[in-house]
């Protein structure tokens, strides 16, 4: 029961920090003006065009595809795998489970392998490509290690040492209604959950901010129409009051 309470506290803390931290970051990005039109051209000339471009960037990693096929492949494996795995995990948080979530369960299982394989590929580049080795910081390595450990501990629970997933679901459903249900005493679930909580805690302070960041990137999200519409930020407009 002690461990259950510790994990309950940990998850409330991690989820709170994640939500507040990421919201705060998004708020600062949104609040900071972009005083000049700087889309990387050629760029879409309509809002719809920008939405489509952003969709291609976020869903297909269009620019990365142009840049480097290996990085693109590993990134796509990892992010695609992660997306499926996250969707698969929805079953721990909703009851009754939506039918499409049930439908993707088997795919989500193999997506775990995709995710870990992609991460291994990305990590290998940090060792074997001299340019990438040069730019890698300890935190770049640790981030990959953390994600791989999360993926691996999840896969081990699925395929090697099974955990009482019904009890795990009870634990999380309980947290969502502010009641404490017992978490199974199992080293692997403790490991998995601790690492996930850690990831949520460091998210708002780390390069994981690339996820919300891309939506605020002026070189990608601006409509290319500088001649047709005057674009003026508040601080720049003040310069004109003197004129």
């Amino acid at each position: 029961m002690t461990m259950t309470i510790m994990f309950a506290v940990l998850f409330y803390f991690a989820a709170g920090l994640f939500a507040v931290g990421v919201s705060y970051r998004i708020y600062t990005y949104a609040r900071t003006p972009a005083p000049l039109k700087i889309p990387t051209t050629p760029a879409p000339r309509t809002r719809t065009g920008v939405v489509l471009l952003m969709a291609r960037e976020v869903l297909l990693f269009q620019s990365l595809f142009k840049a480097n096929l290996w990085t693109w492949l590993f990134s796509a494996l990892f992010h695609g795998g992660l997306a499926l795995v996250l969707l698969r995990h929805l079953r721990y948080f909703i009851d009754p489970v939506w039918s499409w979530v049930i439908f993707i369960q088997p795919f989500g299982m193999y997506a775990g392998f995709m995710m870990v394989a992609g991460l291994m590929g990305l990590w290998a580049r940090r060792f074997f490509v001299d340019r990438i080795r040069y730019i890698s910081t300890p935190s770049d390595h640790l981030m990959l290690a953390l994600l791989i450990a999360i993926g691996a501990s999840g896969l081990i629970m699925k395929f090697v040492t099974h955990t009482d997933v019904v009890a795990v679901k009870n634990f999380f459903m309980g947290l969502m209604s502010f009641t404490i249900n017992v978490l199974p005493a199992d080293l692997m679930i403790y490991t998995h959950l601790s690492l996930v909580a850690l990831l949520m805690i460091i998210f708002p302070f780390s390069k994981l901010l690339h996820a919300p960041g891309i939506f605020f990137s002026p070189s990608r999200n601006q409509v290319e129409n500088p001649r047709d519409k005057r674009h003026l930020s508040a601080w720049a407009a003040k310069l004109e009051s003197g004129k």
Binding site: P33, T40, P42, A67, S139, H210
Partner: protein, 508 residues
Amino acid sequence: MATDIKAPPYRVFNIAPAIQPGAMENIKSFVANEKIQTNLGFPAFEIPDWKEKALGKMGELLGKYRSLKVYLDACVHCGACSDKCHYFIGTADPKNMPVARQDLLRSVYRRYFTLPGKLFPKLVGARDLTREVMDEWYTYFHQCSECRRCSVFCPYGIDTAEITMAAREILDSAGYGQKYANEIIGKVHSIGNNLGLPKAALIDTLEGLEEDVKDATGLDVRYPLDVKGAEVLLITPSADFFAEPHIDSLIGYGKVFHAAGISWTLSSMSSEAGNFGMFIGNYEQMRKIALRVREAALDLGVKRIVVGECGHAWRVAYSFWNTLIGVGDGANDPYAIQLQNQLDHRYKQPMHICELTWDLAERKIITFDKEANDKHIITFHDSCNVARGSSMGDMFGGQFEIPRNIVKAVANHFYEMPEGTTHEQTFCCGGGGGLLTDDLLELRVKGSLPRMEALQQVVDAHGVNFMASICAICKAQFTKVLPYYGFDRRLIGGVHQLVSNAIKLGDK
């Protein structure tokens, strides 16, 4: 020194070089002296409170530029950009990889503006701001030409040009300015153009041009200055007034206006298209330089503003003029409405000279004798700031199509350089972004390697002997570096130089 510089050998395989740490750490452009700095309102070198000034400016910019804030946070060190910079390809110095260049600034941002950097600097690659770091910034942020090629490939669109501009702005605020750019900006403020050509010299040059064209064509083609009530105000880089091959394009612009019967004028007060305020990332300087254009337009009462062949100038004109000084459309504030009411909005404001020429050619108002350019076997070099920081016409990618359309309309022999080196993936000439100075010649020679490799391919395959471009810096840079690669320096020229050769002037 200059004679020791050798062009790097062409690469056997089209891949990035193995890194050579420190390869370019001693290449540093001259630092601005006290007079140059104070002239622009910047402190002089070696002020005691440089650190507070620098960090204060960084904090200020983080609040003023979303680009800087997002770009410093979002990079994941994926390395997509790492082999995309012409300076890295040409020098192999790892700090010339866009991501590593950004990290020079990012590491300090992390140390002073993020929690992990304050708590665990080593872990996240954060470091204190020291004098050595400032030196490193100065060195490597003056080895970036702000060409934006990296931003094409970054999955988040991180544009190293934005980081470089911020870094230079921080350096300037701490007294560590670059002589070349800041001296030139001072000249624009006092005289009106980058080269410091006073009105009398402009009159002299333009009269000389009229005589030359008269000798060559027998016609009175005018190159007017400060004519009130002209239809068009032409804003062109001051290199067009005297440098080779730039002046041949200026001759071409005049012939286009002549053949189309459009009245036009240059301005002695605003005799510069280039805007080095962008290079140093200083909004106020950029605006102050651009204000001369506004003043000239209002003073001369022109209906249209047209911009000559100049890469970053066109970026500033196309993308920023509407913001800075209200040259454009769609304003709802009194400041810009005054000028926008004066301008004729049947035409794009501002308009690139290539847009003007191509429109006239499409409507058959001007016609060409293509055979006049038969001695030229031509390729087209997309200038970086036109390609990735602006557009032309109404279609997506007009900045690529319109100049090519003109070249194909005025000449018979045109060949593209290899894919991946043109359009939005074009390589910078190696001299852009405030680096066109002889103290950086080694960098310029090495940085032009990828473009020279691509050029060599079309020279070998098609006998190309003319590389057309629409940028004053490209023209000056290639004139200088082409011989290092065994080419004739006259291989570079302007699009309107070709127009000038072929346009039918008749006897209007």
